[in-house]
Structure formats: structure tokens, C-alpha cells
Amino acid sequence: MDKRMDPVHTDTRAIEVEHSSGHSFVQAEHLVKRFGEHRAIDDVSLSIAKGEVISLIGPSGAGKSTLLRLLNVLETPDSGTLRVGDAAMTFDGTPVKRARVLAIRRHTGMVFQSFNLFPHLSAVQNVALAQMRVLGRSKDEARTRALAQLERVGLAAKADAYPSQCSGGQQQRIGIARALAMDPDLMLFDEPTSGLDPEVGAEILAVMRELAADGTTMVMATHEMEFARHVSHWTCVMVEGAVIERGAPAQVFDAPEHERTRRFLSAVLGR
């Protein structure tokens, strides 16, 4: 594989980190996350350039969600370093500084598997709230922008509906609009379609495809192999907390290097 073309630097235990920073927008090095004795993330390094789309695949329990949650510090790594844009943090087990965490989160938006919409707020209020409270936008401006984002995900008509009045696919699109309205530089998607019917999931994937085409930097954990293959620029295979293989999707899917990757792919692709 051509290392120069590989900005996804994810060697499991390798120490070498070439071309650190440079043009990478996200730089994670030697991240470790333990839950008790269990190493959910076991020395993962990753660097992502602006506009890239990364897919994380791997068996259930491999640590995909945990890795995403480390990237916006919803979980605090036990060790390692993380930089998103100009916000950098080093983790060594001591309590983290809130301001640093917030600086990283301000760059990121997250879309959850279970949507996590606020049930007591209408669609447009869901999208507007953080704009007003965090970015200090006026009510009118927040609403205008919220409507624009809802329009973008094809839900202008549902602006005043409450989450319970929306289908699962619509709820997830509201979730995407809510994250986008904060103008994030990095979007994190945690299996955004796995709670949905395949047909409805396709609506979401269509939205994500557009985001990718618009040059949004994205990391997504997904079980949608076709989508990972055709939309993402780079694919990482995670097993037991480590990234065991990474590369261009065509290469990972058609000529996997690792035996474990082959077994995983044959199980999910049924071949």
C-alpha cells in the first residue's frame, strides 16, 4: 500500500508516527480506554485530513462506538493525545480540563444510533437550542438557520413536529440537522442507520452521501458495508479495541491483508 497516500495512520502497536500534523485535521495518538480490566480501545492512532470520510467497521463490541466517543471526549481516554483542529489534549489519567474538552467538542458534531433527540422540543427547537445557548445566536437567527438545515435534510415540512410524531428516519435526519447547525468541522456518526428499516436507512445514507460530496469531514461507525465501500475514502477495521487493518475501501474489501478481516467480511457479506 502506498503510505504517502494514506493519511489514516492506524497501526495498532506500531510506534512510528510519520507526517504528524502537517495537513491532518484530526490527530489521535496511542489512545487507550479501559473499562475496568477490559481494554475497549487499545493503543489506537488515527489522523484525518480535512474533507475525508472514514468508515469504521468490525464486529460488535470491537470498540467502534468507544473510539468515536473518544474523538469528542464523551469518554475520557486513559492515555494518549488528541488534537482536533487547533484544540489539543494530552491524557494521562489526571482529571481533564473542562475548557479543553469544550474546545474539542466545539469542532465536532455527533449523530447517535438511538437519535437522542430532545423529546420535549419540536424539530426546529431541537436544532435551534444549542445555537442560541452555545453560539449565542439570536432566536430569529437560530430559527432561520435551523429551518435551513432541516431543509437540507429534506424535513422543512416537519419543522414544528415533535420527535414522537416523526418516523425513525425523520428523527435521525433531525439529529443530523441538529449536529450540522453547529457548523462542526468534524461529523461523527455512530451507526446512524442500524436502528432503522433498510429502506429508511437509505434516506439517511442519501443525506450522508450529500454531506460527503460537500466535503464534510466525517468518521462513521457502520454495518453498511456497501456504503462504507462506496462513500468513504478510507476504511478502518477494528477488532478487540485495535485497528487491525486500514486502507482504501477497495483494497480492504477486495484484498484484505489480515486473516481476521477476511473472516469478518465473509461473515457479514455472506461469502
Binding site: 467538542r105 437522542n116 445557548r133 452555545v134
Partner: protein, 214 residues
């Protein structure tokens, strides 16, 4: 007889006064108490657990006697009404804190995570996300509890607060007709609790019409 009915009905005011004061004390002071339960410090959580278990583990009558006879022995002489409000109020604080705790537990972790992922500050997370959901989640339980307080307030008759049961007892003593008069007293409680139940159901339906609570 007619006069007895009137006197008993008039005592409803004292019953309502007891109920409403205790409810307000509990609703307001239960909130800071539940913060102890949410604290990161195991000691503060322990204090919460002990307080709640001790207050709710002893019958209200015991607390009432302690507040009325016991405190007097220590030189703190409270009027009967004040003793009753104090007793019911403290029990209400512990109960409301438990109700709030249940409501908080019902709010999914994902709600907090969504707030954090959006960089919402602590205050905004509490005010805009958690509190509105908590309020809706606890309103039916709270209404049920207030009806419970209405009935518990009858205890105050034992130390001579002139509420419904006390006045009824006096009238029965002088006139007899125990069955009619106590049934009448019971009807007042039913009459008070049924509308409270209806009102709370209406409020709850209003609040949650547009969305499933959780």
C-alpha cells in the same frame, strides 16, 4: 345535625392548609436534597440514603409525637399546627426527593450525551433539557403524593389540630351519629382527591400530548 355537617365542612380549610404547606415544603426542599443523591461524594450520597430511609422508615405518627411532645420536653414548644406542618413537611421533603430521583433515573443517558456533544453548558443542560423532562416525568407521581398528603394530614387530629377528622370526632362525641358524620368526613376527602386526580391527569395530558415522555 345540620350544624355539625357545616362545622365539619368548615374544617376543610385547615386540612387544605396542612396539605398545601407540606406539599410546598416538599416540592421546594426536595430539590436540593436530591442533589445529594446525585453527588460524586460517597459520603453525601450516604447522608442522603440514611436521611431518606430514617425519615420514611418511621411512621408519621412517631415523628408527629416527637415534634409535639418530644420537642416540648426539650423546651421547644410548638403549637399543634406548626408541629403537624413540620412533621408532614419533613416527610414530604424525603418523599419528593425520592420522586425526583426516580424521575432523573428515567431520563436516558443519551439526553445528557446529546447535550454534551452539542457543547451545551451545565446550566443550559439542566434548564433546557433535563428539567422540562423531569417536570413532566414527576408530575403524575407528585399529584398522587399530594393526594396521599391530604389523607396523611388527618394525623394532625391526634394532637388536636382542628381539621376535618378532629372536628368530626368532637361532633360525634357530643351528638353521636358516628356513622353518618364519619362517612361525611370521608366523603369530603373523596371529594377533594377526585378533582385533584382529574386536574393532574389533565395537566399531564396537556404536557405530554405531543410527545411520549421518554
Amino acid at each position: 345535625m345540620a350544624e355539625a355537617f357545616l362545622l365539619i365542612a368548615a374544617a376543610t380549610g385547615a386540612t387544605l392548609l396542612l396539605t398545601v404547606s407540606a406539599a410546598l415544603i416538599g416540592i421546594v426542599l426536595g430539590a436540593p436534597l436530591v442533589l445529594l443523591a446525585q453527588s460524586r461524594s460517597a459520603i453525601l450520597r450516604g447522608i442522603y440514603t440514611v436521611f431518606v430511609h430514617v425519615v420514611r422508615g418511621v411512621p408519621a405518627l412517631v415523628w408527629l409525637f416527637i415534634a409535639f411532645f418530644g420537642l416540648a420536653e426539650l423546651g421547644i414548644v410548638l403549637p399543634a399546627l406548626a408541629s403537624a406542618v413540620l412533621t408532614l413537611g419533613i416527610i414530604a421533603i424525603a418523599t419528593m426527593a425520592e420522586i425526583y430521583r426516580g424521575g432523573l433515573a428515567a431520563i436516558r443517558q443519551g439526553q445528557y450525551e446529546a447535550g454534551w456533544a452539542l457543547s451545551l453548558g451545565r446550566w443550559s443542560l439542566a434548564k433546557d433539557i433535563i428539567f422540562p423532562q423531569l417536570f413532566r416525568a414527576v408530575s403524575p407521581t407528585t399529584a398522587t403524593y399530594i393526594v396521599g398528603l391530604l389523607k396523611d394530614s388527618a394525623l394532625a387530629s391526634i394532637i388536636g389540630v382542628p381539621e376535618i377528622v378532629y372536628v368530626t370526632g368532637l361532633e360525634v362525641q357530643s351528638l353521636g351519629h358516628g356513622l353518618e358524620l364519619f362517612l361525611f368526613a370521608g366523603l369530603i376527602y373523596l371529594a377533594l382527591s377526585i378533582p385533584l386526580g382529574v386536574v393532574s391527569r389533565v395537566i399531564h395530558v396537556r404536557l405530554t400530548r405531543r410527545y411520549a415522555v421518554l
